[in-house]
Symmetry: C2
Subunit: 378 residues, 2 copies
């Protein structure tokens, strides 16, 4: 049954309100033709420009710039900064280099995931936690207040800008020169934007390679955006946004859909980011030790048949009459001419080749557990 | 300039996704004709049914039921439950009666507001924190983990349902009988729904009077909804949602628009909810003591002229060439044939009768600071 007043049951109207914050790049991105938005960290993020399939092929063949201002930076500084960040994650951050980025699962005291941010080390007593969609800042504020830690915790005025795609490096070198060409994955350097120093990291929410510029403040954002578009014109640079089909086929997880607060890092397949040989100072150390052998885990799933309906709720995975998991994200993997999905599957059914049924909003489909996500080596 | 791909610059398209949770009442509410949604606590909440003005007049003359499932319940239980909740708020909750609801400003260690929930006491060692839009649960988890408190903290499976309007009491009495008629404002009783006990409180996000039912679980929600609609048919019961014009003219604040994390309770005009005569255990006690005399405060503002454009960003308030505040919410106050607004105004300009300019998206308008919000006694 369909509500005749909404556009479609998978797309609705949303009034823009004061509650929905915008980044320094929002206006440029909006005027470039954003067709829809979602809300993420109480900010607007575009979801579609030329259309799902065209955006996907363009990202994989050219270069795009994305307003990813929703990646808010929690700035934690002061003598206890390292200790406080370490309390939130089982990954050992004590030996991070000064130019390093770390993907860190963060957890509450039960080991449930509270976010999956990227941590940037700015210096020995200053970190940026580049968050997915939860108010992780309140966790840090709670811990710091309870223990009287010597830290300052604030949301920095930073609007990350992503430059993604096979020609991202060409574009970045034209603007910031050779320093950027030696930059290794998940390392960062300082570059100049209109005379101001900012962080450029080799990172981003795609598998196509690229960079994220941590643009500070508001002024000059439009000019930088225009420069990127001008300098990249012959590279067919276009405005985009994180591409659902590309990130799902590649197995890039999304907090609040693929990862939920009731999951441990082990269930999310992030055990390799957990240091379990010794207690590095994570408040969930004991809880996580007891949960190292998960009974369900995120796995790649291929769903048989033609294109799927838009997914707006979890889809159950079954084996016979038994529910054995759920699909949290799905897409047409256009380059592979199949349907790619991210499943959370019970141990008895998670092995490669396991045949299941997935109950989509348009009925059941056959599905099979894969060895790896698409475009990933085993 | 307008993005031609979106519907209008104040309304956009939003795809429904797995990330956007729904309450037990969502389907009934949606099928009743919700015309637009926003995202609140990572859930969908409808914003419009018959249209802004018609919804407003109906709320003030009849009775509406609202799916307010976005009011998530943080359940804090255990021997340290009272201590933990008290750490988050300057309001003294030690003497709450067992059937009481308290509006509590919650704050971080600097005194900045982290939420403005309603606290429900369930019993001596069990509280529900009915939150506005922030992950306040992470603050409680952080404090509890840091101090090793003996508490359990979880989001309860509760879908609050609001029954609001002048005929709310008539409708509620028909279903739950006389017990509900003696229920005082911000008190709660236990009622039965299909044989299950649930909490009914005299509360709600309007000034029209009414109730909130804290519906637990998922099953039976549709049947209850249908019963309310059937039993209230002769009262002209309709499906609605929190009404912007009604709540703005009445001065009901909205966290993340009127109240932001950088504001103290005193700036938000909530000093009467802060016990500053003795330290009741709030972690921000010292910080708040130093900030008891705010230099800016929330005040009612009337904006001259005809209906305003939709407000999608803060509007500056000026006096001469000086910025002296901002308007965070504005509406046509239909019953008063004027424009009502909520302002945050510097001390030198906040007195009643102060004449200012407000810079709307459609140009400047004259504005004046009022003594009280509309329909409130001085």
């Amino acid at each position: 049954m369909q509500n005749q007043n909404t556009l479609l049951d998978h797309v609705t109207r949303m009034p823009l309100t004061v509650r929905m914050r915008r980044s320094a790049f929002w206006e440029r991105s909006h005027l470039a033709g954003a067709q829809a938005y979602i809300v993420y960290n109480n900010m607007l993020i575009a979801t579609d420009f030329m259309g799902a399939e065209e955006d996907y092929h363009h990202l994989k063949s050219a270069v795009q710039i994305w307003d990813v201002g929703v990646e808010r930076q929690i700035e934690i500084s002061g003598p206890d900064a390292l200790r406080l960040v370490q309390m939130s994650t089982p990954r050992d951050i004590g030996k991070m280099a000064r130019d390093q980025c770390f993907y860190i699962p963060t957890v509450d005291s039960t080991g449930g995931m509270s976010n999956d941010p990227v941590l940037l080390k700015r210096d020995e007593e200053r970190y940026w936690v580049s968050i997915a969609d939860s108010d992780l800042i309140l966790y840090y504020k709670g811990v710091a207040a309870a223990l009287g830690l010597n830290v300052k915790i604030q949301e920095a005025d930073v609007s990350p800008l992503a430059i993604q795609g096979p020609y991202a490096q060409t574009l970045v070198l034209r603007i910031w020169g050779e320093a950027a060409s030696d930059l290794k994955f998940f390392r960062h350097i300082t570059v100049e934007v209109d005379g101001r120093k900012m962080i450029l990291a080799r990172s981003g929410y795609s598998l196509q390679g690229g960079y994220e510029l941590y643009f500070e403040g508001q002024s000059g954002a439009g000019e930088l955006w225009d420069t990127l578009m001008d300098v990249g014109a012959d590279l067919d640079v276009k405005v985009g946004s994180p591409c659902q089909a590309e990130r799902i086929e590649g197995g890039l997880l999304s907090y609040l859909s693929d990862i939920t607060h009731d999951m441990t890092p082990f269930e999310a397949g992030l055990g390799k980011f957990c240091n379990m040989t010794q207690d590095v100072g994570c408040l969930a150390w004991e809880a996580l030790r007891a949960k190292q052998s998960p009974t369900r885990q995120i796995r790649p799933v291929e769903i048989e048949g033609g294109p799927l309906p838009p997914q707006t709720t979890f889809w159950p995975l079954t084996s016979g009459s038994q529910t054995v998991g759920r699909v949290s994200s799905s897409c047409r993997a256009y380059d592979y001419d199949c349907n790619a999905a991210i499943g959370l599957i019970d141990a008895a059914h998670w092995s490669t080749g396991s045949a299941l049924m997935v109950h989509t909003s348009a009925g059941p489909r056959e599905a099979v557990v894969k060895d790896t996500f698409w475009g990933r080596s085993a």
